[in-house]
C-alpha cells in the first residue's frame, strides 16, 4: 500500500520475543478498507496467539476533519466478543507516524515488557522498572528515559497488572474508551504498554485533490450545530445531564481537542489551583483531563462535589481502572469517599452496564449530539453501530462522528479513493461494516 500508509504490519510474538513485519497489501485495503475492519481480520489471522491488535484508520493523521482515531481490537474478557476501543487524543496520530499501520501483539512475555515503537523500529523492552508503578508514573518514566516529552503511550496500571476485569488501558495519563477490560489482556501478556514516537511522512496519490476535498468538508463541518459548544459539559447537556455543566463549571480550566478534531471533547479541571488562572500552573500536577463522559456522570450521581468526583476520576486513571464501572459498583454498595472507593479498587468486581452489542465502546454516547441525523430516527441502535463502524474504519473520532452529520460516507469514500488510488465503493464499505457487525 503506497499511499496514506506506512505499508507495514508489525507482528510481535511476546513468547519468543520475535518481531517481524509484513506489507499492508492493496488487496486487504480493497476488501476491508482499514481501521477496525483490518484489525479484526488480523485478529482472526493470528487468533491462536490471543492477539491484541492496534491500528490506525485509513485517514488517521491526515487533514480530513476529526481523523484522530486509532483502534485497539481484542477479545474482551467481560463480553467474550471481539471488541474495539477507540484510540484518541494524539495517540492515534503518533502511531500513524511511528512507522506501522497495524501492530499485532501475541503470546505472553516471560517478564514484564513494553513495546517501544519509533520511526519504523519496534523494540521489546523490559518493563521491570515500571511494573507496579501507576499509569502516570509509567508515562513519566518512559518519557524521561527516552528523553522526549512528546512520546505517546498506551499503558496499564495496577488493575491491569492484577488482571482485574475492570482494568482499562489508558492514554498517556488519561482515561480511554476501553470499557472492555482490555487492561486485563495487557496484564495477562505481561505487557505494561506501548510507547510511540515518529517523524514519518504520509504520501497521497493526489495530494492537491485530497487537501481540497478535506477543506471542503471542513468548511461544511464548521457550519454544524455543534459550533459554539465545547467540552464535556455541553456533551452532558446534549444527552440529558444538564446539571453537570454548572456543577463542573467552577473548576473548568480549558477544553482541548484530539488531533484535528473540530470539537474539544476533553475538559481539564484544576483541583489544586485557581481554574481561571491562565499562566503556567505552579503545581506539576494541578488537575485532571476529563476524557470519560460516563465516568464523570457516574460519580456525579453519588451526590459528591465536582472536586471529589474529579479526584476519583484521577485516582481511577492512575490505577488504570474503568471509572464508569467503578462509579456504578460504588453507587450500588454505598461507597462515597475517595478513601473508601480507592481502597476497594483491588477487590472490585461485579456486573456492569455496557450499552450496545459489545462491539463498539459505549464510551461514546449512543445518540446524535447537537446535530440532526436524518437516518438516526428509525433504529437508533443500528444507526449508532453503523456510525461507529464507519468511524472506526476510517479513523474518525467516534464522538465527533455522532455530532457532525456533515461527515458522510460518500465524503469518506471519495477522499480515501483520491488519497490511495484504491477504488473504494459503497459496496466495499457495506461489506466491511457488515464484517465488523456480524
Amino acid at each position: 500500500m503506497e499511499y496514506l500508509s506506512a505499508n507495514k504490519i508489525l507482528v510481535v510474538d511476546l513468547t519468543s520475543a520475535e518481531v517481524t513485519d509484513d506489507e499492508l497489501s492493496d488487496e486487504l485495503v480493497r476488501e476491508k478498507i482499514g481501521g477496525a475492519a483490518v484489525a479484526k481480520h488480523l485478529y482472526e489471522q493470528h487468533a491462536d496467539g490471543d492477539p491484541i491488535v492496534i491500528g490506525t484508520g485509513l485517514l488517521t493523521g491526515t487533514l480530513f476533519p476529526a481523523a484522530a482515531a486509532g483502534v485497539i481490537t481484542a477479545k474482551s474478557p467481560v463480553t467474550g466478543k471481539i471488541s474495539h476501543c477507540p484510540i484518541t487524543l494524539k495517540v492515534g496520530l503518533e502511531i500513524q507516524y511511528a512507522g506501522f499501520d497495524y501492530i499485532v501483539i501475541k503470546g505472553k512475555s516471560p517478564e514484564p515488557a513494553f513495546l517501544w515503537i519509533h520511526d519504523g523500529v519496534a523494540d521489546i523492552s523490559s518493563a521491570a522498572d515500571v511494573w507496579g508503578k501507576n499509569v502516570w508514573e509509567t508515562t513519566d518514566t518512559w518519557r524521561k528515559v527516552m528523553g522526549d516529552d512528546l512520546i505517546q503511550t498506551i499503558v496499564i496500571g495496577k488493575a491491569g497488572e492484577d488482571q482485574s476485569e475492570l482494568a482499562q488501558v489508558c492514554y498517556n495519563y488519561w482515561a480511554s474508551g476501553d470499557r472492555w477490560g482490555f487492561g486485563k489482556n495487557f496484564g495477562a501478556k505481561n505487557l505494561k504498554g506501548l510507547a510511540f514516537r515518529g517523524m514519518g511522512l504520509l504520501e497521497m496519490a493526489d495530494a492537491e485533490e485530497f487537501v481540497e476535498l478535506a477543506l471542503d468538508v471542513l468548511e461544511e463541518v464548521k457550519e454544524g450545530e455543534f459550533v459554539g459548544k465545547k467540552g464535556i459539559g455541553d456533551i452532558c447537556t446534549a444527552i440529558g445531564e444538564a446539571d453537570i455543566d454548572t456543577w463542573l463549571a467552577p473548576i473548568v480550566h480549558r477544553h482541548s481537542a484530539c488531533y484535528n478534531t473540530p470539537y474539544a471533547t476533553n475538559t481539564f479541571v484544576f483541583l489544586d489551583e485557581d481554574a481561571q488562572k491562565m499562566s503556567e500552573p505552579e503545581h506539576s500536577e494541578p488537575g485532571f483531563l476529563i476524557t470519560d463522559i460516563f465516568g464523570l456522570i457516574g460519580f456525579k450521581k453519588m451526590g459528591i462535589s465536582a472536586v471529589e468526583a474529579c479526584n476519583l476520576l484521577k485516582a481511577c486513571a492512575k490505577y488504570g481502572i474503568d471509572a464508569a464501572a467503578v462509579a456504578e459498583l460504588s453507587l450500588a454498595t454505598g461507597k462515597k469517599t475517595l478513601a473508601e472507593i480507592q481502597g476497594s479498587f483491588a477487590t472490585l468486581v461485579g456486573a456492569v452496564t455496557r450499552p450496545g452489542s459489545g462491539i463498539f465502546s459505549p464510551w461514546c454516547p449512543n445518540q446524535p449530539l447537537f446535530g440532526k441525523f436524518d437516518d438516526a430516527g428509525d433504529d437508533p441502535t443500528a444507526w449508532w453501530e453503523r456510525r461507529m463502524a464507519v468511524a472506526s474504519i476510517f479513523g474518525i473520532h467516534p464522538i465527533f462522528s455522532v455530532m457532525s452529520p456533515e461527515i458522510t460516507e460518500d465524503d469518506l469514500l471519495e477522499i480515501a479513493t483520491v488519497g490511495t488510488e484504491v477504488e473504494l465503493s459503497q459496496d466495499t464499505l457495506d461489506n466491511a461494516v457488515n464484517y465488523l457487525l456480524k
Binding site: L63, N172, L201, E203, M204, A214, L215, A257, M278
Partner: protein, 120 residues
C-alpha cells in the same frame, strides 16, 4: 500581512501544524512545519502555539502573545534542552512564508477548526 494567533481559542488540535507540514512536504508530516503546537506540559494543561517568522518567534501562550528573538527562549537549543517544540528545533525550521505560492492561502488559517489563527 502577518499571522495572529488567539491562544485562548486554540484547543491544541495540531491541525495548523499538519497543514503547514503539508505545505512544506507535499505530504502529511510534522517535521518541517514552521507553526508548532507546544504540548509538552501535558499534566499542567499548558499549551499554545509557536510560529517561526523571519526574525523572531511568535509565541502564543494562554496568558498572552510574546515575541522573542530566535535563540532567546527555551524553545530553541540556545537554552539547552528543547522543551516546547517538536522533534526538530525551531531554529532549524524555515520561517513562515504565509504559503505565498499556494492558491489556498495560509494553510494554517484555512485548516484551523476553531478560527484561532487569522491575518493581522
Amino acid at each position: 500581512m502577518a499571522l495572529k494567533i488567539d491562544a485562548l481559542k486554540c484547543t491544541g488540535c495540531m491541525a495548523c501544524e499538519m497543514a503547514c507540514g503539508y505545505h512544506r512536504d507535499d505530504g502529511f508530516a510534522l517535521l518541517s512545519s514552521c507553526i508548532v503546537a507546544y504540548r509538552t506540559k501535558e499534566k499542567k494543561d499548558y499549551f499554545g502555539v509557536i510560529l517561526k517568522r523571519e526574525e523572531d518567534l511568535l509565541i502564543a501562550r494562554p496568558e498572552g502573545t510574546e515575541i522573542k528573538r530566535i535563540g532567546e527562549t527555551e524553545e530553541t537549543p540556545a537554552a539547552g534542552k528543547q522543551q516546547d517544540a517538536s522533534a526538530k528545533p525551531m531554529l532549524l525550521r524555515e520561517a513562515c512564508d504565509l504559503c505565498e505560492e499556494m492558491d489556498l492561502g495560509p494553510m494554517c488559517i484555512k485548516f484551523c477548526p476553531f478560527d484561532a489563527i487569522s491575518e493581522d
